[in-house]
Symmetry: C2
Subunit: 348 residues, 2 copies
């Protein structure tokens, strides 16, 4: 079975589709055979550029006629639930773009629908596949600093994300659903499931940006009850260039009984133990199609795809299943509830 | 009145008395005229070294005979309440070493006793007088980054503080009462009074160290409801030398709408605005009697004394009155309650 070429289809022809298609082409044994988009000309343009043989006007026609082995649902968030559910009904394995859904109820319904029809369902959560984040995870798991008792993940940038994507201004819930899901997912990867979460959110750019654009979380995570601080911010605040302004890099600082780890800008990872500090650079692999400014994010798409492809072939892997990602969604919405009620929310 | 020499007495002849006496000698118009210590020979040795004319066997005798203008109570924590209350009864202004008292009830009783006898009462809280902390305060007040919406204060060290002071191993409440009061006081100075506090504490060195030695707090502070993260740790964790291991320096990172501030190791303060990053060094003044390893802490004693001396002369100042410091104590014990109950504690 591992030798068989997998034929997949794409729903959506927006901003991210080009990168996702490029990333799929880095892998062996997988081909895009069809694309559907609400606005057909955009799908046709991508089909020409990427040599996709079939363009469809409806997702139903695509599934019936192209019979893909799986669907990569790269539509905007409003399309996540209906188009994923269509795949569940037709028993076509599906990878859904993050965030999985615009509400926790929708996310639960989606996971349930795939479970009911025994169809594989994944979420395209690529942040945890970023080169420095994987190295951070490896270092924690190696035991070099012992079991972490505290960790801090920081993703703060003065970058004007609304310039590229003005629609983000209108979201009533912004930074936790956009960026927070990524960082909470990384926190789960590194420290384990959340035991509790407390969150404060702020709207520093209102009324021009409707949603919260700054969030600070204090969690207890995993069996070791690691204290985890998460700092998120898109506030247009000027930050020290190349040190603090590391968009889209996540910075990290982790303390354990035997030492400490730091992920700094420019992909530097520092491991400090009694023997001193070892500084290594863990830059992402470079791909010609990737935007150099987003290199660490774009390159991670390839590794995310590789993992999902293994799972789709039944060869293991598949970290970001729908069921797994539902935990990230639950944590994200618990953070909103925590902020709204100004209280700690416990999960056990 | 400002020309009159103030004559003061000292209670206690322990570790800190030498530094405190040295710091008083840096100032004009103030002289130590008497010292009391439970163990007389220690008081006598200091009296010889610092030219203090009178040594007493009891604090009562000292107050009655030496008639000091004020007392500097530098006894260990068990002496803070009884010896300060003695001053209150005799209507002798008193400066009490931090932490003010071993419990919130004791601290409240002390402040009340001085209020009742209309006697001036101060706490020797010097951390806020450290050169980089004062500069941080000045920068925040200058408005250069606008009103801060988030701040982070970090005082984490691998330093073995129990080697010097083994008694610290026995304290059931350790890092918040020892170090936490200092950092919470700095947070109040920089961001205003706390609206709420949430705290997680950990004991990573138990059973050899009885109390909590790691604490992480998430507060809302001041009228702007600034989100404040405080990270405290004495966990013997190896940290990157000269960057993360900055004992006894406090590191800080503050975000505002117009820019960001960072206090880094080696007294570097970075101000980032649209115009770029300005990096200035704000080292403490150097005194021959100060231990170079503690320079930033020891030098701050002089500035703390200067401020209290002005207040004692009726010339203004006097930031760290008993009433003011009671707010720091309330916050400290609220943090313990928060940690014990795993909940957010609100003050309004």
């Amino acid at each position: 079975m591992s030798a068989r070429e997998l034929r997949f289809a794409i729903f959506g022809a927006g901003f991210w589709t080009r990168y996702q298609l490029s990333a799929w082409r880095e892998l062996e044994g997988v081909t895009c055979v069809a694309i559907y988009n609400r606005t057909r000309p955009k799908a046709e343009a991508l089909a020409r550029e990427f040599g996709i043989p079939a363009v469809y006007d409806t997702p139903e026609d695509l599934l019936r006629e192209a019979k893909p082995d799986f669907v990569d649902n790269i539509t905007e968030i409003a399309g996540h639930k209906p188009l994923s559910l269509l795949c569940a009904q037709r028993r076509v394995p599906c990878i859904c773009q993050k965030p999985m859904a615009p509400s926790l109820a929708a996310a639960r319904a989606m996971v349930k629908a795939f479970a009911k029809t025994r169809t594989r369902f994944f979420v395209h959560e690529n942040w945890r596949w970023q080169t420095p984040m994987r190295q951070l995870k490896r270092l924690i798991d190696s035991g070099v600093i012992g079991t972490p008792f505290r960790g801090r993940l920081t993703m703060i940038s003065g970058y004007d994300c609304w310039a590229n994507q003005p629609a983000l201004r209108e979201l009533k819930q912004f930074i936790l659903t956009d960026l927070g899901v990524h960082i909470l997912d990384v926190a789960r990867l590194c420290f384990g499931e959340a035991n509790s979460v407390y969150c404060q959110i702020r709207k520093t750019l209102a009324p021009k940006v409707k949603g919260e654009n700054v969030a600070t979380l204090l969690l207890s995570m995993g069996p070791a009850k690691t204290t985890v601080v998460i700092e998120l911010g898109y506030a247009k605040t000027p930050l020290e260039p190349t040190v603090r302004e590391a968009f889209p890099q996540t910075l990290a600082f982790v303390e354990g009984p035997l030492g400490s780890l730091e992920v700094s800008a420019d992909y530097l990872i520092k491991v400090t133990t009694r023997n001193g500090t070892l500084i290594e650079r863990h830059p992402p692999p470079r791909y010609p199609w990737a935007d150099s400014q987003y290199a660490v994010a774009h390159a991670s798409i390839v590794d995310c795809h590789r993992d999902l492809l293994r799972a789709l072939r039944g060869e293991g892997g598949g970290e970001t299943t729908g069921a797994d990602n539902l935990k990230t969604m639950e944590l994200t919405y618990a953070a909103y509830s925590s902020a709204a009620e100004d209280r700690v929310i416990s999960f056990r």
